[in-house]
C-alpha cells in the first residue's frame, strides 16, 4: 500500500484510528509517567527530608585536635581530598554548601575557675549582631551573657596568662542560632555544645590572633559542610550514602587524627524507607492503567482489524503469505503505536511535570529518565502484543469464512475474552484475600489492585446482564413505551461490542470512584493528623525575655483571648516516662486555638478547660526581704533538725535554722529575688555523723510541732505572710507523706499542728497548697488503662507529678500519642517555677492570627525561635509517598475514565452510524427524526448509565472494604484519629461531572448521528 492510500484508510476510519492512537498514547504516557514521577517524587521526598532534618543530620563535621598553628593548614585540604575521593562521580556536583571552618583555642580564666573559648570562624561577623565592630588581630567580641557575667565591656583590654592583651571591640548576639552556618553550635543555643560547658561563651576573634599565639597552644580545628537539598537528587542517594560512610570511616583521616561525625547515612536510610511507600504503589497504579489501556487497545484493534477483514481476505486471495498479511492487516495499529511512543513519552513527561509542579517540593527537577523510555517501549511492545492478539482471529480466518462471516461469531468470541478476563480478575482477588491483603487492617500496597480486579470481575458479569435484562424487556417495550425505547432496547441486547465498551467503562469508573475515595479519605486524614500533631493552626516556639511571663505577654498580645495561648511543653527523657510530653496550657485560651478531635460522647475542649483549672488556695506569696517562722515544738527526734523554706526563686531554699528539741522558737532567713511563692517547709534531720544515728532509722526525722506564725519583713516591719487563715485552715497545707505512718496536720486557734515522720533519708515536708492535688489532666488514652482515674506524670521540672485524669483523648493536640494537658499556672507552681532546661515555651495561634500576634510578641521582646503550621505539616504529608501515589492513582483513574468513556461513546457512535441505513428506512416509513434521536440517546443512556452506576457502586464497595489497608502515612498516626468513610462531596462531585460530561458527549454524538441520516442512504447497499 502506498503511504497516501494508507493515510486515506486512516482518515476513513478516523474514529477507530483516533481511539487506537489516543489509547496507545495514554498507555505509553502512563508507562513513561510512572518512572518519571517516581524519580521526581524520590527527589522531592529526599529534599523535604533533608530540609526538615536538624543540620547535624544533613551535614558532617570533621575535626582535628593539636597544635593550633598548623591545624587549619591540614584539615580542610585533607578532608576535602578524601571526601572527593569517596564521592567519586558526585564530587563535581556541588552537593555540599560552602565549608565553614573554625579554629578554637582556650584562654585560662582562673578568677572564674574556668577557661574562655577563643574562636575564629569563617565570616563569623556576618552571622552576629555586634554592638561594636568586628574584631581584628588581638581583638575579640564577647557575648552579651559573658558581658553580664564578667562585667567586661567594649574597649576593655583583657589579659590572659601568656597571651597578648585582647581588646573587646563589641558585644555580640547570634543573629539566628538555627542557621546551618552554626552547625548546631551557636553560642547560647538551646542545644548544649561542648563549647558552652564553660560559662564564658565563645569570644570570637580574627584568625591571626589564634595563629600568632604560642606554638605550644593546643586547640581544635573544625570543618562543617552541609548537604544542599537543592542539588541532591533521588538517584544520588545510594552512591552518596556509600560515599559518606566511606568518608566517615576513612583510614587516611583516622591516621591523621581527623574525626568525622555525621548522621547523613541515617538520614538517607530514612529517606529510602520513605521511598518504599511510593515505589510499589506507583508500579501497581501504572500497571492498572496500562492494563486498562491495553484492554481498550485490544478492543479497538479488534474492531479496526475486523473492519478491514475484507481487505485482509483480499490480500490472502492475492497470494500474500501469513507474515505479509499480518503486516498488511496490522500496519495501521503498528504505525499508530510507533507514533504514540515518542508522543506518549513526551505527554507523560509533560503531565508529570505539571503534576509535580502542583504536588512536589518546589524546584524538584522532573527529568526524562532513561527508565521512562524503557517503560514506554515495554508498553509499546505490550500494545503490539495486544494488537497481535486482537487481530489474530481475523488474520487466521480463511478467505471464504471471511466472505460468509456473520455477527454470531462476535458473540462467541466475546465470551472467550470475557471469561479469560473474569477468571484472571477473580483469581487475583482470591490471591489477595487468602494472602491477608484484603482482610488485614495492616497497610499494604497490593491492596491497590483490589478495585481494578473487583471492577473488572464485576464488570464482565454485570455487562453481560445488561443485554439479558434488555431481552427480558422485549415484551414490555413491544407493547408500549414508544419506538425509541423499542429500538434502543433491541440494539443493546443484540450488540456485543457495546457490552465490551461498557465493561471497560465500568472498570474505569470503579477505579475512579475508588481513587477519589482513597484520595479524599487520605487527604482528610492527613489534614486531621497534621492539625493534631502540630496542635493548632500555628505553633511558635519562642524565647521570652528574662523576668517576663509568657502568659502575661500573650494576654497583652491577644486581649480577646481567642487567638493565642501560651503553652509550656516538656518532653521527658527519663527512663520510665521517656517520650511523655506535658503541655502546660492556659486552658481557656487553649480551648480557643487548639485542634481537638472529640470522639462521640466526649466533652468539648471548652468543657474540659473549666475542669483543668479548678479553684485552689492562693498560697503564701512572699515579697519582703526576709521571712520568719514561729513554732512551738512538742517533740522532735533526733534533736538538731533544721528547718528550711522552699520558695519559687533562684535563692531557694531559704535556710531558717535549727529547731529546739522542745519549746518555742522563731527562725529567720533572708529572701532574695522575691516576690516568690512559698512552696513548702522542709525539716531535715541533722547531718549524719558517727554515733548520731536516729532511733527511728538513719536520716529520718519525726515529731510534732505547731506553727504559730509565718511572717515576712517588709519596710522594716514583720507582717503576716499570705492569707490570714493560712494557719487555721487545713486546706492551705498538705503533709508531705500521706501513707503509713501518716503525717497529719491539725489547724487550731494556736496555729497549725504538724505531726510528721519522714522516711529513711528523706526530709519531713509540709507543703503549702497553691494548686489542686493531684493536678487535673487530660491524657492520651494510650497512656492509661480504662477506668483509671489517677496517674503519675512528669512536671515541667522533669520530676514526677500526680495527675487526676479528668478525660482521656485519642490524640492530644501537639503530642497525639503521649501527651498530657495540664493547667500552666498550676504546673509552673508544681515545678516551683523552675522549668527544666529542655522545657520549650510556645505560643499556639488560631488560623489567621500569626502575623498580628507574632508582631506584637516581638514588639514585647519575645523572639520567635521557630514556627510550625498545620498547613506546612499537611503539605509535608502530601509530599510523602502514600499521598503522592494516591494523587497519581487519581490522575491515572481519571485518565482511564476519560479514555474509557470516550472509547465507549465513539464505539456506540460508530456502531449506530453503521445502522444509518436502518434509520433512513425507518425515516422513510414516517418515523420522525426526534424518535430516532430518542432511540440513539436512550441506547447511549442505557449503556453509559449502566456503566456509571455499576462502576460507582463497585468502586464505593471496594473503598469501604479496603481503604483501611491503603497506606496513608509513612509512620502510622494514632488509629483513633483516622476515619475511612469516604466523604460524600468529592464522590458526588465526581459522579456529577462524569454524568454531565458523558451526557453532553452522548447528546452531541446522537445529534450528529441523526443529522447525518438521509433518504439517499437507501440507495446504498446495507452494511
Amino acid at each position: 500500500m502506498t503511504g497516501r492510500s494508507w493515510l486515506r484508510g486512516l482518515i476513513q476510519r478516523a474514529g477507530t484510528t483516533g481511539i487506537i492512537f489516543i489509547v496507545a498514547l495514554v498507555a505509553v504516557a502512563a508507562a513513561a509517567a510512572g518512572p518519571i514521577y517516581y524519580s521526581a517524587a524520590r527527589t522531592s521526598i529526599l529534599r523535604d527530608t533533608i530540609a526538615t532534618q536538624p543540620v547535624t543530620a544533613r551535614g558532617y563535621e570533621a575535626d582535628e585536635t593539636g597544635a593550633l598553628t598548623g591545624l587549619l593548614g591540614e584539615l580542610p585540604a585533607t578532608q576535602k581530598q578524601r571526601l572527593d575521593t569517596a564521592l567519586g562521580g558526585l564530587a563535581g556536583r556541588g552537593l555540599f554548601g560552602p565549608p565553614v571552618q573554625e579554629l578554637q583555642g582556650s584562654l585560662a580564666l582562673p578568677v572564674y575557675n574556668t577557661s574562655a573559648p577563643l574562636v575564629w570562624r569563617t565570616s563569623v561577623c556576618a552571622h552576629l549582631r555586634i554592638a561594636g565592630k568586628c574584631p581584628g588581630t588581638n581583638q575579640v567580641v564577647i557575648s552579651r551573657s559573658t558581658a553580664q557575667l564578667t562585667g567586661w565591656h567594649t574597649g576593655q583590654q583583657l589579659h590572659f596568662d601568656g597571651e597578648p592583651a585582647l581588646t573587646v571591640t563589641g558585644i555580640y548576639q547570634v543573629t539566628n542560632a538555627n542557621q546551618d552556618y552554626w552547625f548546631g553550635n551557636a553560642p547560647g543555643a538551646t542545644q548544649q555544645s561542648a563549647r558552652d560547658a564553660s560559662p564564658i561563651q565563645a569570644m570570637f576573634t580574627a584568625l591571626a590572633t589564634i595563629q600568632s599565639g604560642p606554638a605550644s597552644a593546643q586547640g581544635t580545628a573544625t570543618v562543617d559542610e552541609v548537604l544542599r537539598s537543592d542539588r541532591v537528587t533521588g538517584g544520588d542517594v545510594g552512591q552518596l550514602g556509600t560515599a559518606i560512610n566511606a568518608f566517615s570511616q576513612d583510614p587516611v583521616l583516622a591516621n591523621a587524627q581527623i574525626l568525622v561525625s555525621t548522621a547523613i547515612p541515617a538520614t538517607l536510610t530514612s529517606v529510602q524507607s520513605g521511598w518504599t511507600a511510593l515505589a510499589i504503589p506507583i508500579l501497581l497504579i501504572t500497571l492498572q492503567l496500562l492494563a486498562l489501556c491495553l484492554l481498550l487497545l485490544f478492543l479497538a484493534v479488534t474492531d479496526a482489524v475486523e473492519g478491514r477483514g475484507a481487505e485482509i481476505a483480499l490480500a490472502k486471495l492475492r497470494g500474500r503469505g501469513a507474515a505479509s498479511t499480518a503486516l498488511f492487516g496490522l500496519s495501521e495499529p503498528i504505525i499508530l503505536l510507533i507514533l504514540a511512543l515518542p508522543a506518549g513519552v513526551l505527554a507523560g513527561w509533560g503531565v508529570t511535570a505539571l503534576l509535580s509542579r502542583l504536588l512536589l517540593r518546589p524546584g524538584t527537577p522532573v527529568e526524562l529518565a532513561g527508565l521512562a523510555w524503557w517503560a514506554a517501549a515495554a508498553a509499546t511492545l505490550g500494545g503490539l502484543a495486544a494488537a497481535g492478539l486482537a487481530a489474530r482471529r481475523t488474520l487466521r480466518r480463511p478467505v471464504l469464512e471471511e466472505w460468509r462471516r456473520s455477527g454470531l461469531r462476535m458473540n462467541s468470541r466475546g465470551w472467550a475474552v470475557d471469561a479469560v478476563l473474569a477468571t484472571a480478575a477473580v483469581a487475583g482477588l482470591l490471591e489477595l484475600y487468602f494472602s491477608g491483603q484484603v482482610s488485614s487492617a495492616r497497610p499494604g500496597t497490593l491492596i491497590l489492585l483490589v478495585p481494578g480486579l473487583l471492577g473488572l470481575a464485576v464488570a464482565v458479569i454485570a455487562s453481560r446482564l445488561l443485554p439479558a435484562g434488555c431481552r427480558a424487556a422485549y415484551a414490555r417495550t413491544g407493547k408500549g413505551g414508544g419506538l425509541g425505547t423499542f429500538l434502543a432496547i433491541r440494539h443493546v441486547a443484540r450488540r456485543p461490542s457495546g457490552v465490551r465498551a461498557v465493561m471497560v467503562l465500568v472498570t474505569a469508573i470503579a477505579l475512579t470512584t475508588f481513587a477519589v475515595s482513597a484520595w479524599s479519605v487520605g487527604d482528610r486524614n492527613q489534614q486531621r493528623v497534621a492539625a493534631t500533631t502540630v496542635g493548632a493552626p500555628t505553633v511558635l516556639t519562642v524565647s521570652v525575655p528574662a523576668g517576663k511571663n509568657l502568659s502575661t505577654l500573650v494576654g497583652n498580645a491577644d486581649p480577646s483571648g481567642r487567638q493565642a495561648a501560651a503553652v509550656d511543653s516538656y518532653t521527658s527523657t527519663s527512663s520510665g516516662s521517656a517520650g511523655l510530653t506535658v503541655l502546660a496550657v492556659d486552658p481557656q485560651r487553649f480551648a480557643q486555638v487548639a485542634t481537638w478531635n472529640a470522639q462521640p460522647g466526649q466533652p468539648s475542649l471548652q468543657d474540659l478547660a473549666d475542669r483543668l483549672d479548678p479553684p485552689a488556695p492562693a498560697g503564701i506569696t512572699l515579697s519582703g526581704s526576709a521571712m520568719r517562722v514561729t513554732v512551738q515544738v512538742k517533740k522532735i527526734n533526733p534533736a538538731g533538725a533544721t528547718l528550711a523554706a522552699d520558695v519559687t526563686t533562684g535563692s531557694s531554699p531559704v535556710s531558717l535554722g535549727t529547731l529546739p528539741a522542745r519549746g518555742s522558737a522563731t527562725l529567720t532567713g533572708p529572701l532574695t529575688g522575691c516576690p516568690c511563692v512559698l512552696q513548702d517547709l522542709d525539716l531535715s534531720p541533722p547531718s549524719s555523723g558517727p554515733g548520731s544515728l536516729s532511733y527511728v532509722g538513719p536520716g529520718q526525722v519525726s515529731g510534732a510541732l505547731t506553727i504559730t506564725a509565718i511572717q515576712e519583713l517588709q519596710g522594716g516591719h514583720w507582717v503576716t505572710a499570705g492569707p490570714a487563715a493560712a494557719l487555721t485552715d487545713a486546706s492551705y497545707w498538705r503533709p508531705g507523706q500521706e501513707d503509713s505512718p501518716p503525717d497529719t496536720i491539725q489547724p487550731g486557734n494556736a496555729g497549725l499542728t504538724w505531726t510528721f515522720s519522714s522516711r529513711a533519708a528523706q526530709d519531713a515536708v509540709l507543703t503549702s497548697v497553691n494548686r489542686p492535688y493531684p493536678l487535673p489532666a487530660v491524657i492520651s488514652s494510650g497512656l492509661v488503662s480504662p477506668g483509671q482515674t489517677q496517674a503519675t506524670g512528669v512536671g515541667l521540672d522533669g520530676k514526677s507529678l500526680g495527675l487526676q485524669i479528668i478525660d482521656r483523648a485519642v490524640a492530644i493536640p501537639g503530642a497525639p500519642d503521649n501527651g498530657v494537658i495540664v493547667d500552666r499556672h498550676y504546673a509552673e507552681l508544681a515545678a516551683g517555677l523552675t522549668a527544666a532546661s529542655t522545657t520549650v515555651e510556645q505560643v499556639w495561634l488560631a488560623g489567621d492570627a500569626q502575623s498580628a500576634i507574632e508582631a506584637r510578641l516581638q514588639a514585647a521582646g519575645v523572639s520567635v525561635v521557630s514556627s510550625e503550621t498545620t498547613a506546612q505539616t499537611a503539605s509535608t504529608y502530601a509530599r510523602q509517598g502514600p499521598a503522592l501515589s494516591s494523587v497519581l492513582f487519581l490522575a491515572d483513574a481519571a485518565a482511564a475514565t476519560l479514555l474509557a468513556a470516550g472509547a465507549a461513546i465513539l464505539d456506540l457512535y460508530l456502531s449506530a452510524r453503521r445502522r444509518r441505513y436502518e434509520y433512513a428506512a425507518l425515516s422513510a416509513t414516517g418515523v420522525p427524526f426526534r424518535t430516532l434521536r430518542r432511540a440513539v440517546r436512550t441506547e447511549l443512556a442505557l449503556l453509559l448509565g449502566f456503566g456509571i452506576v455499576v462502576g460507582a457502586v463497585i468502586g464505593a464497595i471496594a473503598a469501604l472494604v479496603t481503604l483501611r489497608s491503603v497506606p496513608e502515612f509513612v509512620t502510622a498516626p494514632p488509629a483513633g484519629l483516622l476515619s475511612y468513610v469516604p466523604p460524600a462531596l468529592p464522590l458526588a462531585l465526581t459522579l456529577v461531572v462524569t454524568i454531565v460530561v458523558l451526557t453532553a458527549a452522548a447528546g452531541l454524538a446522537s445529534s450528529t448521528l441523526i443529522r447525518g441520516v438521509s433518504l439517499d442512504q437507501l440507495r446504498e447497499t446495507p452494511t
Partner: protein, 288 residues
C-alpha cells in the same frame, strides 16, 4: 522473472468431492467431478444456483481442500497444499476475479496501486512492476484513471481493474466468479473481451463461473454443473452429456420436463458407437 514451466493440462479433476460441515450438518457440494482443462483453454462453468460452480472455483483457487478425489492445478496437487503453498499457487499461477467489483480491490488505493499491490509479494522489481502495471491498465482502457482511487471508479472500470489485478503476475489460470453479473451489457462485453484477449495474448487458461449463456458461449467450452456433478459440456455450439464416473448421465432439463420426466423407466439399447435410451413400459413388455 523466472519462466515457469506450464503443465499440459492446467486443471485436472478426478472424482472431486467436496463436503461442507456446517452447524453439525454435512452438505455435499460436489459429488465426483471429472474435468480436464488444457492449458490455454477457456471454460465457462454454468448451472443453477447451489449446483457447486463456485465451490469448484474455490477449489481451483486453493481456497478449499477437496474432501475426496484428486485435483491438480497448474501441475500442483491441491490436496497436498498447505496454506503457504496455496498462497504461493494464487500468487504465481492463479488469478481470481470476484463477482462484487468492490470486493476485488482496495478501495483507498489507486488503480495502479491495486495492480502493484497484487504484484508486490512476487517481487518482480520496481521497474518491471511499473511496466507491467502500465501495460495492463492500458490494455484494460484504464490508463487515464491509473492514479484515481479504485473506490471512485465506476462499476465497469472497477471490474476491468479487477481483471488487471488478477493478471498482474501473469497467471497460468484466471478464475472469474460471475465477473459480469453486476455490469451493464456494454461493460460486461468489454470485460469478457479483455479476458479473452488475455487468453489469446498470454495463453492464460480461463475458468469462469457465469449464469449468462451469452457470456458462456463466448468461451470455447461450457461445463454445466448440476447437483454437484458435471451434467453437460458444450463445445463449438454443440451440447454434450457427460458420463460420470459412476455411470450416471444427467439429462437436459427440457428432456426431464417433457420426454423423460423424473421416475420414468428407460431402457438402454447399445449401438455401435454408444447407447440409445428408450422409455420402457413393463406392462406392455409382459403382455408381449
Amino acid at each position: 522473472m523466472a519462466v515457469r514451466e506450464r503443465a499440459e493440462d492446467t486443471v485436472r479433476c478426478e472424482g472431486l468431492v467436496q463436503v461442507y460441515g456446517t452447524l453439525g450438518q454435512e452438505v455435499t457440494a460436489l459429488r465426483g467431478i471429472d474435468l480436464t482443462v488444457p492449458a490455454g483453454d477457456t471454460v465457462a462453468l454454468l448451472g443453477p444456483s447451489g449446483a457447486g460452480k463456485s465451490t469448484l472455483l474455490w477449489l481451483l483457487a486453493g481456497l478449499l481442500k477437496p474432501t475426496a478425489g484428486r485435483l491438480e492445478v497448474c501441475g500442483r496437487r491441491v490436496n497436498d497444499l498447505n496454506r503457504r503453498s496455496a498462497a504461493d499457487l494464487r500468487l504465481h499461477d492463479v488469478g481470481v476475479v470476484l463477482q462484487n467489483p468492490g470486493r476485488n480491490l482496495l478501495a483507498n488505493e489507486t488503480a495502479a496501486g491495486n495492480v502493484m499491490f497484487a504484484q508486490r509479494p512476487a517481487h518482480p522489481g520496481r521497474a518491471a512492476s511499473r511496466r507491467r502495471t502500465d501495460e495492463l491498465l492500458e490494455a484494460m482502457g484504464l490508463g487515464r484513471v491509473a492514479h484515481r482511487q479504485a473506490g471512485r471508479l465506476s462499476g465497469g472500470e472497477q471490474q476491468r481493474l479487477a481483471v488487471a489485478v488478477a493478471l498482474a503476475n501473469r497467471p497460468q489460470l484466471l478464475l472469474a466468479d460471475e465477473p459480469t453479473s453486476q455490469l451493464d451489457r456494454t461493460s460486461a462485453s468489454t470485460v469478457i473481451d479483455l479476458i479473452r484477449s488475455a487468453n489469446e495474448s498470454e495463453g492464460t487458461t480461463v475458468v469462469m463461473v457465469t449464469h449468462d449463456p451469452v457470456v458462456g458461449n463466448s468461451l470455447r467450452r461450457t461445463i454445466t454443473i448440476r447437483d454437484g456433478r458435471v451434467g453437460a459440456e458444450g463445445q463449438a455450439g454443440q451440447e454434450y452429456l457427460v458420463v460420470s464416473r459412476d455411470g450416471s448421465v444427467q439429462l437436459p432439463s427440457e428432456v426431464l420436463e417433457t420426454t423423460l420426466p423424473p421416475g420414468t423407466l428407460i431402457r438402454a439399447v447399445p449401438t455401435a458407437d454408444g447407447v440409445q435410451l428408450h422409455r420402457a413400459r413393463p406392462e406392455e413388455d409382459e403382455r408381449a
